[in-house]
C-alpha cells in the first residue's frame, strides 16, 4: 500500500459537519474514518462528574452518518476519548449511542471497546514507587490528589488501538486517547512512518480547524504516503494553505517543534509545508523517536463542592468608581453572617477585569456599566445558595460613601437572581506515569453489535 487515505469528519464528535463534505470524503475511498471525541479544554467538570460536554443527539447524528457510510463498505471507524473525557461512564454513554444506531439502522459489526480508567490504588502504588512525574508548571502529585479524584484516566497511545484492529474490530470506541492516535494507529499498522502518521493525526484531529476559513464543524481529508502526507479540504468554501496548516501546528501546544506523546516524541524541526493545489498542502520531514521509559499522561479531577451564581449589573458612576471597596465591604458582611463556615466567594466584574482577572493590565475601568457575577462555592448546594442569596441582597442595599441611588445598587436581569450551577470540580491529577507495557491499562473488549434488521436488508 502506497497511500493510506483518512476521512476526518469533525474536530470533536458531536460538533457536526456538512453531509456534502462527508460525501465528498467518501468519494475519495478512505481506508479509515476517525474522530477525536474529547478535550480537557471544557474544564475539569466533565471528567470529574462523568458526563459529556457534547449533546447526546449531536453525537448520535454524527455517528449515524459515519457508521452508515463505513460499516457496509468495511471501512474501520475509530473513536478516541469517547464521551469527551474517556472515563468509563463516558465510554458507556457512547456505547449506548452506538448500540442504538446499530439497532435503528440495522448495522452489524465487531466493536472493540477500550477502557482508560486507572484505579486509584494503582496510581498510589506507582506514585510510591516514584513512577509518576509532574508536568511542569503543574505541581507534584500528592496522595490526597489521587484519593480525592472521582476518577483517573490514562491517555493511551497507538498500541491498544492496533491490538483492537488485530483482533478484527471494525469499529473502535476508545476511552481517553492521545488525540492523533485514532488516525495514526491504523496507518502505523499498515507500515507507514510514525512521524508522518502522527503529524497527520495532529492535523486531522481538529479537522477543518487547519483550513481557512477554519471550522470545528467540517471535514478534512488526509493522504498518507511513504515520504509525505497531504491534507485537503472537502468543502468548496475552505482551503488548506501552507499558512493555515503550519499555523495549526502551533495550536494548543507549548512547543511547535517537539511534541511529546505516549511513548514517543514528534519532531517537527525539519518539517516542510508545500502548496500542491488550491486546497491541498503537502507536508514532509516530520520525524518521530520513541522515548524510554514509556510514559502515559494521567488526568483526574476532584470535587470541590457546589456552585451558586447571581448575575447583576450596575449603571451608577459612583458605584462603578468605588466597586473594589464595595466588594470588600460585601465580603466582610458575608463573612460576619456566616462565621465558622467554609466557602469561596468571588466577584467576576465584567467591564473591569472579568475576562483577564489578575492578568488584566488596565486597572481603571472606563465602562459606563459593569456586569457582576457573584459566585459562591460551598460544601452543599443549599449552603452555596444561601450564601449567594445573602451576598446578593447585601450588595443590593450596601451603603457606600457618596451613594445617591439609595433604592438599590444593582440591576438584576432575572428572577430568581441566583442559580444553582451544580457540582464544582478541579483538575487534581495531570501527570506522567511510567509504564512497562503500553497496553497494560487499556483493556480491549470485543463485542458483537447486532442491528435489529440483521441479514434482512441491504
Amino acid at each position: 500500500m502506497d497511500e493510506f487515505r483518512i476521512l476526518a469528519p469533525t474536530a470533536i464528535l458531536g460538533y457536526g459537519f456538512p453531509e456534502e463534505s462527508f460525501q465528498a470524503g467518501m468519494k475519495r475511498n478512505p481506508h479509515l474514518i476517525a474522530v477525536d471525541a474529547g478535550s480537557t479544554d471544557p474544564g475539569p467538570y466533565y471528567l470529574g462528574k462523568g458526563v459529556s460536554f457534547t449533546a447526546r443527539r449531536a453525537v448520535k447524528r454524527d455517528l449515524t452518518i459515519m457508521l452508515k457510510a463505513a460499516v457496509p463498505r468495511g471501512i474501520p471507524v475509530v473513536i478516541g476519548t469517547a464521551g469527551g473525557s474517556g472515563g468509563d461512564p463516558h465510554v458507556n454513554w457512547n456505547l449506548e449511542i452506538i448500540r442504538e444506531i446499530a439497532a435503528e439502522e440495522g448495522l452489524n459489526f465487531r466493536l472493540a471497546v477500550i477502557g482508560a480508567e486507572i484505579d486509584k490504588e494503582t496510581v498510589l502504588d506507582y506514585r510510591r514507587r516514584g513512577k509518576i512525574t509532574a508536568l511542569t508548571p503543574g505541581p507534584e502529585l500528592t496522595v490526597e490528589d489521587i484519593e480525592k479524584a472521582t476518577r483517573i484516566v490514562g491517555q493511551m497511545g497507538t498500541e491498544p488501538l492496533i491490538q483492537a484492529l488485530d483482533l478484527g474490530a471494525q469499529v473502535i470506541l476508545a476511552g481517553r486517547c492521545y488525540d492523533p492516535a485514532v488516525f495514526a494507529a491504523p496507518a502505523i499498522r499498515e507500515g507507514f512512518a510514525p512521524g508522518l502518521a502522527i503529524h497527520l493525526g495532529k492535523i486531522l484531529e481538529c479537522a477543518a480547524i487547519a483550513a481557512v476559513p477554519g471550522s470545528g464543524s467540517d471535514c478534512l481529508f488526509g493522504y498518507l504516503h511513504r515520504e509525505d502526507f497531504e491534507v485537503e479540504t472537502l468543502h468548496p468554501a475552505r482551503k488548506c494553505t501552507v499558512a493555515s496548516v503550519a499555523a495549526h501546528t502551533l495550536y494548543e501546544k507549548s512547543n511547535p517543534y517537539l511534541l511529546p506523546g505516549p511513548g514517543g516524541i514528534l519532531d517537527l524541526k525539519n518539517t516542510r509545508f508545500e502548496q500542491v493545489g488550491e486546497n491541498r498542502v503537502r507536508v514532509y520531514g516530520s520525524d518521530y523517536s520513541e522515548t524510554s521509559p514509556y510514559r502515559i499522561k494521567l488526568e483526574g479531577a476532584k470535587k470541590e463542592g457546589y456552585r451558586a451564581v447571581a448575575v447583576a449589573g450596575t449603571r451608577d458612576p459612583v458605584m462603578i468608581s468605588r466597586i473594589e471597596e464595595i466588594i470588600a465591604g460585601v465580603k466582610e458582611k458575608t463573612a460576619d453572617n456566616f462565621p465558622q463556615t467554609s466557602y469561596y466567594l468571588n466577584f467576576h466584574v465584567y467591564g473591569k477585569n472579568g475576562v483577564m482577572g489578575k492578568l488584566e493590565p488596565i486597572k481603571e475601568p472606563a465602562s459606563h456599566e459593569l456586569g457582576i457575577i457573584m459566585e459562591v462555592v460551598a460544601a452543599t448546594e443549599e449552603l452555596a445558595m444561601a450564601i449567594c442569596a445573602f451576598t446578593r441582597s447585601t450588595m443590593l442595599h450596601f451603603g457606600y460613601e457618596g451613594r445617591l441611588s439609595t433604592a438599590g445598587n444593582l440591576a438584576f436581569p432575572f428572577s430568581p437572581a441566583e442559580f444553582a450551577a451544580g457540582e464544582v470540580y478541579q483538575f487534581s491529577v495531570y501527570h506522567l506515569m511510567e509504564v512497562a507495557d503500553p497496553q497494560e491499562f487499556f483493556p480491549v473488549r470485543l463485542l458483537t453489535v447486532t442491528g435489529e434488521r440483521k441479514g434482512t436488508e441491504r
Binding site: Y45, E252, S254, G354, V355, M356, L359, P361, Q426
Partner: protein, 102 residues
C-alpha cells in the same frame, strides 16, 4: 507598524490546565524576521504586559514554517479552578494587540 497590521493571527489558548499559549502569526516573512531581529517578544515585555513575574513567562519560541511566534505563560489559576476567569484561555491575547513592530 502596528502588530495588528503585520499579523494575521493573534490568539491565546490553554496548553494543558497550567499554561496559556499565545500565538502571533505574521502575514509577511519580512515582518516575522523583523520581529525576530528586534526581539520584539521578550520575557521582560511579556511580564510587563501581563503584570506577571518574568519567571512566569515559560517560553518564547519562533516557528519559521508558520512565520509565527509562540509565547507560553503560567496560568494564574489552573483551567476551571476556583478563581479562573477563562476556562479555555481563549481571551487572554488582548495585551499583545497594542504592540508596535519597529
Amino acid at each position: 507598524m502596528k502588530l495588528t497590521e503585520a499579523a494575521v493571527v493573534i490568539r491565546s489558548k490553554n496548553s494543558g490546565p497550567y499554561e496559556l499559549t499565545l500565538d502571533v502569526i505574521f502575514r509577511e516573512e519580512k515582518d516575522f524576521l523583523r520581529a525576530k531581529e528586534t526581539q520584539l517578544f521578550n520575557r521582560e515585555l511579556v511580564a510587563e504586559l501581563y503584570r506577571i513575574s518574568p519567571g512566569d513567562v515559560l517560553a518564547i519560541i519562533d516557528f519559521a514554517p508558520a512565520k509565527a511566534y509562540k509565547i507560553n505563560i503560567r496560568r494564574p489559576v489552573p483551567a476551571g479552578g476556583l478563581g479562573d476567569t477563562d476556562v479555555y484561555g481563549a481571551q487572554q491575547h488582548a495585551p499583545l494587540l497594542a504592540l508596535e513592530l519597529k
